[in-house]
């Protein structure tokens, strides 16, 4: 900027005024400055500007993982931000499974929201987060009071298990998600509720504690399926884990859905092309992203009227990984 000021023979203050279109600069000076900017290819530094200004018109999105569903979230966010005047900065850490994971979201939320961003979306944080600027969480931690957008995990999980019950299953295993997340807890609640409502006891030994990561499900599935009285169906709290169950069953020589029915949760793209295709509960990550961005935008501009906790409907998607227990595999 000082280069431009020198070239145009004015002060940096004047250059700043021209760049930001402020009033009170003569036409002649404006022309001179514009010419210098053009000639030098000057572009103001995002960092310096944001340090000085209170408002940046940049929204942030912090995510610790990067998977198929994350991409859908991004698309929804971008759609909501289109022509809004807000740009988006996505901050992703490079240490996916490293030591930085714990509390990572909070740390980076703070680092960004001090100055760079006017507000942030945080995707599936491990713990509750807070910030001086508005935050909307997609899939909040349990007991979080931060504004959030989330799928109706309870209803979705209930529907999933009721689908299995309707098929005639009575011994249904459950592989849970990361306990600190509300979604994990509610999906387990849905599992329990469906069984209880059907007059069935909840067998604690059929509940295994995963963490949403596919890898975590492998040993758990093996345990459940190695038992003499193995369940005839398994409901996993995420598609990633359900897909792993499919793999384990395959290794164990169990046919799906002949010997074992499997239901997941999320409806990630991979679940549609799996072999067999996976019955699952659809939560539109696109919608989640879209609504989160819409809420954040209004929170930032101060005109949000709706509830600060938004729950979006889910939908059971029946595919080929579920069938009545003991049914013979198709051709």
């Amino acid at each position: 900027m000082s280069d431009v000021a020198r070239a145009a023979g004015v002060s940096t203050a004047t250059v700043s005024r021209v760049v930001n279109g402020h009033y009170g600069v003569s036409a002649g000076t404006t022309t001179k400055v514009r010419a210098a900017i053009e000639r030098l290819g000057y572009e103001s530094s995002l960092v310096a500007t944001s340090l000085r200004r209170s408002r940046t018109n940049v929204l942030g999105l912090v995510t610790h993982s990067f998977q198929s569903y994350t991409a859908e979230v991004f698309k929804g966010v971008m759609e909501a931000l289109r022509r809004s005047g807000f740009d988006l900065i996505i901050y992703a850490n490079s240490d996916l499974y490293g030591t930085y994971s714990e509390g990572w979201e909070q740390r980076h939320l703070t680092r960004l929201s001090g100055t760079l961003t006017d507000g942030c979306i945080v995707v599936t944080p491990w713990d509750d987060v807070q910030s001086r600027t508005p935050v909307v969480v997609i899939d909040p931690a349990r007991n979080s009071t931060t504004p959030s957008v989330t799928a109706d995990n309870l209803a979705g999980a209930t529907a999933a298990v009721e689908h299995l019950l309707g098929l005639g299953h009575r011994r249904i295993g459950f592989i849970a998600g990361r306990a600190s997340m509300a979604a994990a807890w509610l999906r387990e609640e849905g599992y329990r509720a469906a069984l209880t409502r059907a007059g069935l006891p909840v067998d604690q030994t059929l509940i295994a504690g995963g963490d949403f990561n596919p890898e975590s499900a492998a040993p758990l599935a093996r345990n459940l399926l190695d038992r003499a009285d193995r369940p005839t169906a398994i409901f996993a709290a995420s598609d990633g884990m359900a897909l792993m169950v499919l793999e384990v069953a395959n290794k164990l020589g169990l046919s799906v859905p002949g010997d074992l029915s499997v239901v997941g949760f999320d409806n990630i793209p991979e679940s549609a092309v799996a072999e067999p295709s996976l019955t699952t509960v659809d939560q539109s990550m696109y919608q989640l992203g879209y609504e989160a961005a819409r809420m954040l935008k209004s929170l930032v501009t101060g005109d949000w009227e709706g509830p600060r906790e938004m729950v979006l409907p889910t939908r059971l998607v029946v595919r080929n990984s579920t069938a009545p227990p003991g049914s013979t595999p198709g051709p």
Copy 2:
């Protein structure tokens, strides 16, 4: 930071030293400062730090669009950056089809690279870009001299057209991509090369100028297919456009591949689930992202040895949208 300094009874300089782990701070002071940091939940501002320092250990990625393939690029980039010590900032503008599109990449590259990032990846820019810090372009503009990673568009397009020729097609239409991009030009070159090599003339009226956007392909496809001497096959320079050709053919009552064969380029996820599934040229966007990040990382640390223009192999994926001309549709 000044809060921390006050709480710990030291100067901000000392706090900074502790935060950054610099030598020359007594154990007692360090403890005091750490305690204050912990108590106040202090986190240094990314913006302020990057403004003062030359190195930020943050890499940038600038993209004007956000589509399925972009997500694959991200995954590749993240994988390459894993445990590298670099974080990633993705900058996406909210004005996808708005007035900002022209020169957008360059503008934001400049705004970021001044201070925030140590280097940037730019995805499919419309024009050539330059920066004071290292840049790697994925799918560069024509005649770009910036370090880049790109698929072997020439070989891929040649293989696509040779596949159609092998099936017996002689009148093959081509829907081109955005002319300013090297990929568009090379895909057209491949189309021409394959025809010429087969001893066939290149019929200019069978070449239509699209811009990679699906929407741009609709009227072009209609033009090509409305002709009395319509082509028996169309090769589109992107899957998005090819999918649009499928749609147009459907509206026109033409069956694919019975009346018309269609080949795309990219192998986006949607092409596998299209009806019929799309024959296309696979370019691994994941690989493109991975290699671009690897190159950028080394460029930033100054230890890049390889060529600054990298070309990755492509692979023809034959699906159900291609068949010999005039063949009757299957059951």
